[in-house]
């Protein structure tokens, strides 16, 4: 569980005439993670791709371009039966068809763009009462045509030798060349911008109508082609997708020799196989074909094998979906502990504390299980894995909501035990809704025991981080005992800090801090240092034990990791306090839903209860639904992001490197690869 699947490095040797058969066999076995051979390594060359490789890749390139023309990304593959016969011939004739349509489609598109530009140019001229040839061919006149942001009517101030035509927002001025530059300046100052005069002759209005008619014609043509392409897509999509997958496999197989080492008469394949199946693979390869498979080294036996084996995580089925979130951060290397198990406990628990509501938790469990049932046949993708994580989270949220916080949908099971609260504040499940006393009483009321909630978060911080340091000790102990001692130092520092914090938090009777300090931490000797200004009075001095732990821890850490790491002690304190977000988000969400519930209760539901106002009931239920939906979504998002963050940042950075490569056996195809 904490270790990946043990791997054995295998070497497969065979005569070259068995090469193709061996590739087929390895592909079917789907067991060997091939280590690419590098040209010239140990004096061996790499193999040459099989003959069919170039032909298959050529068709594949054509297929991919067809797929992009027909936009086939999400099409379902057809049954394999369509792949018989001459695949190449079929695809080439299809390509001829489709690429012809595609070319004419592109041509028409550029034509249409051209027409659009011409129409845009012509449109303003249609407003003016002149033909196009009237704008040019003058010896003594200069012509200005363009847009005028407002009416320009005092052209007389420049010269009297001009003629002007205006339309709304447009102006055409014919002026003698002598006054042209003065006129240009005058117009520019009034925001006039020149328009290019379109080529051609005739009345712009007629020309414009012609252009528009032409556009309509071409658009119809384009639509026709689009329809033909759609028909083609519908007819051949399944075939093309299936053919693409088929060819990709062909290419992968045909190019496999590039990853092998070869001599004149033999080939060698180097790779990793799960140790458990190695004997079976060896036996099959040697029996069915004349190959030699031998064990180069077993990674399980050595502390440090020469090469880093690929990693295949192995976790109990219910926790496997969490592996996705581990890979997202980084695949663990073969030699470090797999954190999936801790993650799959910590993530849902933290999610549960932050959501902390029986209602929302139960909704996630039911909704998540329903989704999983619907997706039964779907492969394990991102959303499916995430849904499992949320079902776990919902389960813990229900547990915390029922037994710790005592509430569902933001409404408490029992009225809080405080004098002088409003009617909305006292609204609860037992007295007002179910009229049955729920036998569950809150251990911690979010809104009234915030300090206790923070103390609870800090206790979880200690548990989580100490597991992290313990993992660090184990990881480092294998190859660098010095660093392992450093991690022990950190564990001591963390424990010392935690004891001091709990000592301070446990000053008042009746708080959660008091319970932890005198219960779980009751064994800590009480004598210590008085620091009244920090709140450590004679009644609760800082225990000498905590100080000793801090001191020894710091010395160990500095001795093994270097002097500069002293700053990291404050970083660790910050990490611990950072877990207070569990309380922060829990309280924040409770406050929002409490506020919304109170508003809805006082404005809609209490009038209904008091005077039977049915409108109040209907509106009230609608708003209650909306408010709870909002909170459900909000708490899911922030709960998930924050608990992922606590695991990635606070927890993983204590021990986890995540620099491994995933086990990808030859022959196993993933969606991402396609």
């Amino acid at each position: 569980m904490l270790r990946p699947v043990p791997m054995t490095r295998a070497l497969i040797v065979g005569p070259r005439d068995e090469l193709e058969a061996t590739i087929e066999r390895l592909y079917d076995l789907k067991l060997l993670h091939i280590v690419d051979h590098k040209e010239g390594e140990e004096g061996l060359e790499i193999g040459k791709p099989l003959l069919k490789a170039s032909e298959a890749s050529e068709i594949l390139v054509k297929l991919r371009s067809l797929a992009s023309v027909l936009q086939l990304e999400d099409a379902e593959p057809a049954a394999e039966t369509g792949l018989t016969g001459d695949l190449r011939q079929k695809i080439l004739s299809l390509e001829l068809n489709i690429s012809e349509e595609d070319t004419s489609k592109k041509k028409i598109q550029s034509l249409l763009a051209d027409l659009d530009r011409k129409i845009e140019e012509m449109t303003p001229f249609a407003e003016l009462p002149l033909a196009l040839q009237d704008y040019r061919g003058y010896e003594r006149l200069e012509v200005f045509v363009g847009k005028a942001p407002r009416d320009i009517d005092d052209l007389d101030t420049v010269t009297t030798e001009y003629d002007a035509f205006a339309a709304p927002g447009l102006l055409a001025v014919f002026v003698v060349k002598a006054a042209a530059s003065a006129m240009r300046e005058f117009l520019a100052q009034r925001g006039f911008t020149n328009l290019p005069i379109p080529a051609g002759e005739g009345r712009p209005g007629d020309l414009l109508a012609d252009l528009r008619a032409e556009k309509v014609r071409w658009e119809a043509r384009s639509k026709e082609i689009e329809e033909r392409l759609t028909t083609l897509r519908e007819r051949y999509a399944g075939f093309l997708v299936a053919a693409k997958a088929h060819l990709e496999i062909q290419v992968e197989k045909a190019e496999a020799p590039l990853r092998f080492a070869v001599t004149e008469h033999t080939f060698l394949v180097d790779g990793w196989v799960p140790t458990a199946v190695f004997p079976e693979m060896k036996e099959r390869l040697e029996r069915e074909s004349h190959l030699l498979a031998s064990e180069l080294e077993s990674a399980a036996g050595h502390a440090e094998p020469a090469a880093e084996p690929p990693v295949e995580l192995q976790n109990p089925r219910p926790f496997r979906p969490f592996e996705m979130l581990i890979h997202m951060f980084g695949t663990p290397s073969y030699h470090e502990l797999d954190p999936t198990l801790v993650f799959s406990l910590a993530f849902p628990v933290m999610f549960g504390i932050m959501v902390g509501d029986l209602g929302y938790g139960a909704v996630w469990v039911v909704y998540g299980l329903w989704l999983l049932r619907r997706w039964k046949d779907k492969p394990w993708g991102f959303w499916k894995n995430l849904t499992v994580a949320f079902v776990w989270g919902g389960l813990w949220a229900s547990v915390f909501g029922a037994f710790v916080f005592g509430e569902a949908f933001g409404i408490p099971f029992h009225a809080p035990d405080i004098v002088g609260i409003s009617r909305a504040e006292a609204f609860n499940w037992s007295d007002d809704i179910l009229h049955v006393s729920i036998p569950l009483f809150p251990f911690l009321e979010k809104l009234h025991q915030v300090t206790d909630f923070i103390v609870l978060s800090l206790a979880i911080a200690y548990l989580h981080l100490s597991v992290g340091f313990a993992f660090g000790v184990v990881n480092e102990a294998r190859h660098n005992p010095k660093h392992a001692i450093g991690k022990v130092g950190w564990l001591l520092i963390l424990t010392g800090l935690f004891i001091a914090i709990m000592d301070r938090a446990g000053r008042w009777h009746g708080t959660l801090g008091y319970a932890i300090w005198n219960g779980l931490l009751g064994w800590v000797p009480r004598t210590g240092l008085v620091q009244a200004s920090f709140g450590f009075s004679t009644a609760n001095p800082i225990p000498y034990l905590a100080l000793a732990m801090l001191g020894v821890g710091v010395v160990l850490m500095l001795a093994t990791e270097g002097f500069l790491h002293i700053m990291e002690v404050f970083g660790l304190l910050a990490n611990v306090v950072s877990y207070a977000r569990l309380a922060g988000i829990g309280v924040a969400e409770e406050t929002v839903i409490f506020a919304l519930n109170s508003l809805i209760l006082t404005s809609f539901l209490f009038p209904w209860i008091d005077s039977g106002n049915v409108v109040g009931l209907v509106l009230g239920l609608v708003f209650v639904g909306l408010a709870n939906f909002l909170l459900f979504v909000l708490s899911t998002i922030s709960g998930a992001i924050q608990s992922v963050r606590l695991n990635y940042v606070e927890f993983f950075l204590k021990f986890y490197k995540g620099s491994g490569t995933r086990f990808r056996p030859f022959g196993l195809r993933t969606k991402a690869e396609v």
Binding site: V450, V577, G584, Q642, V644
Partner: protein
């Protein structure tokens, strides 16, 4: 810390200022990281998983503010 009568308002004000300041600081920091992250995701969508925790890192600041505010208020 002993709060003398009539000065509770100052404590409440201090708590409010703490949350205000840390809230603004967090928002500003997340703005900077968020903009850079969106850029990175646009280039490489598979970075989403790595970028998401980076964006929420500054949230710790406002959590500190919250803790300090509550320890101030618990002295009332």
């Amino acid at each position: 810390m002993v709060v003398s009568a009539g000065q509770e308002g100052l404590v409440a004000m201090a708590a409010a200022l703490t949350v205000l300041g840390t809230g603004i600081a967090t928002a500003w920091a997340e703005k900077v990281i968020g903009a850079a992250s969106v850029g990175a995701i646009a280039e490489k969508p598979e970075l989403f998983g790595r970028v998401l925790p980076l964006v929420v890192i500054p949230e710790t600041i406002v959590i500190f503010g919250l803790v300090i505010a509550f320890s101030l208020l618990s002295n009332l």
